[in-house]
Symmetry: C2
Subunit: 308 residues, 2 copies
């Protein structure tokens, strides 16, 4: 998240470089932000080389029509487009009309899927934004379960407390810089209790790792050239001395350590091994969870099912 | 996330209770899942009392048309509706057509916003799903920054290493069970280095807390009755003995500790104090980040701006 850059035009007026997207929500704004981010993935070819710079502006907690109109007016001035999630149908309609009047493109992110679900269920949407008074937020089991998962996962980072591996839903094993920690945290946010165990050449793995259900252990592996590059950057940022660095990030060592990990994985064929090269954390998470949920249900199309 | 329940109908056929929503993505599926979850918030009134049970099924990494057709056929059999994110326009079209043929409602979650952005930027979307070969995933500064934020935040949990508060972007202070840990982790995932510091009655706060920029410190407070209920549940799950429990979760103690925290907040009027009662973690995160980003830009409409 780089903050907004501005530049002066020839007439001295401060002007924002690049096109703007205004994102408006009566809630947190994370849904519209997530959707816009995914859509922007379709324009990476020109975002990367700055062929088309984009500025996003997120306005959250917008629950009265005056604020809404002020933001849309500002969007019009800036030549921005608008994407919004507004639960109250009269707010959503006001947004659409104002955008039409000002001649700016607008997209209702949530209206279409909400309407589709409404007619599928045969139930009308409440029209109440999250956090609206009158809604009461239940301290659900789900809520406590997620918090417990996060606290468990933090405590189990980096091989800590191996006796607790038995209590984990998912155990990740891999050499340093395969992304175990951020992946653990990502999964914890989704409610899974995760432990991660580093594989270090010549260091024995905790015995408990081989005692837990092998179906919950996942090996992570990565291309050696990419791993070396990541470790070099890491060693530099940690200010490792030259001797440590050479061991940690030199190619021979990196290769041997990956082979060491590979032998452990080969000895435990029930552990799925996931190649993380080129994958974002959330992509690896999707692979882990697809395999995790498919254990029960091997023959059919892999899926993650939930009940509400 | 409760797993799928099934029930037998009178004719002995196993039948899924409740309506189903099939979610299909060529990527991770997190975008369609996020949007469907937000939309389901509009039906909480009937989900809570099980008036309308909903089963969601997430199919990720669906990048060939045969798999796609198999899933849609299954959706038709189950009387499900379909929501999808498919970057390849021919896949999206196939999904739409197949749903029409089978007579099931379908919603394209990403098409409309992608088209709107395309015409706003004057650039065509790539049509390539994330993770498609040919796309190369850059190990961007953003990526490393986020991992560093997560690792920093884990190390700084629960008042650890107070000398590092100076390096945090955001510092959270509050009594036990105000949600400091999950909030810290949520913000870390968004790239912020967060430290959290517990307030415990009679225990002195670390000196460094008062030396850092007060604009980056946020106090958390909560209704005493709700806090007591949360602490009771917590004490039970940790198996605290009766004496510890009485101190930790008894009403007088809870009230006094909140007052103790309130006095610290009053002595530091530059710290915003956020009421977390009834707020989900992501809602508190939205408030924190709105305030955090508004510091630079106080007069205009609060917003979170990013550049791509
Ligand atoms: N639990 C919920 N109850 C009601 N509406 C919700 C809920 N969660 C999200 N929404 C709505 O969904 C949209 C997106 O939410 P948000 O991601 O918080 O911006 C907003 O219009 C919210 O008001
Ligand atoms: N970085 C990206 N590049 C290209 N497409 C993306 C990117 N991120 C997400 N998408 C697409 O956006 C949709 C939602 O992605 P996901 O949340 O991974 O299911 C899918 O159609 C993805 O292919
Ligand atoms: Mg780690
Ligand atoms: Mg904590």
């Amino acid at each position: 998240s780089v903050s907004l850059e501005t530049e002066k035009t020839s007439d001295g007026v401060e002007k924002t470089a690049g096109k703007s997207i205004y994102m408006i929500s009566d809630g947190t704004g994370w849904t519209v932000e997530h959707s816009v981010n995914a859509a922007l993935g379709q324009f990476e070819h020109c975002l990367v080389d700055r062929g088309c710079a984009v500025n996003t502006h997120l306005f959250s907690g917008i629950d009265d029509v005056e604020q809404l109109m002020e933001i849309i007016k500002q969007a019009a001035k800036e030549g921005a487009m608008v994407a919004y999630t507004l639960a109250d149908p009269s707010m959503a309609e006001s947004a659409e009309q104002a955008c039409n009047i000002w001649g700016i493109p607008s997209t209702d992110i949530l209206g279409p899927i909400t309407e589709a679900i409404a007619s599928h269920l045969g139930v009308s949407p409440s029209g109440l934004p999250r956090g609206a008074s009158g809604r009461n937020f239940p301290l659900s089991d789900e809520y406590f379960k997620r918090i417990e998962a996060i606290e468990f996962t933090i405590k189990q980072d980096d091989g800590a407390l191996p006796k607790n591996l038995i209590n984990a839903d998912i155990v990740l094993a891999g050499v340093s810089r395969t992304g175990k920690t951020p992946l653990s945290i990502y999964l914890a946010q989704k409610g899974y209790k995760v432990a991660n165990v580093p594989i270090v050449m010549g260091v024995e793995m905790p015995k408990t790792l081989f005692q837990v259900d092998p179906e919950k252990v996942f090996g992570l592996t990565v291309n050696s050239v990419v791993l070396q590059a990541i470790r070099r950057a890491r060693a530099k940022s940690l200010g490792f001395g030259a001797e440590v660095r050479s061991n940690y990030s030199e190619m021979d060592y990196v290769r041997e350590e990956l082979e060491f990990a590979g032998r452990i994985f080969a000895q435990n064929p029930a552990w799925p091994v996931i190649e993380v090269t080129g994958k974002a954390i959330e992509e690896t998470a999707a692979v882990v969870l697809r395999l995790y949920h498919d254990r029960k249900n091997r023959c059919s199309m892999p899926r993650i099912s939930k009940r509400y």
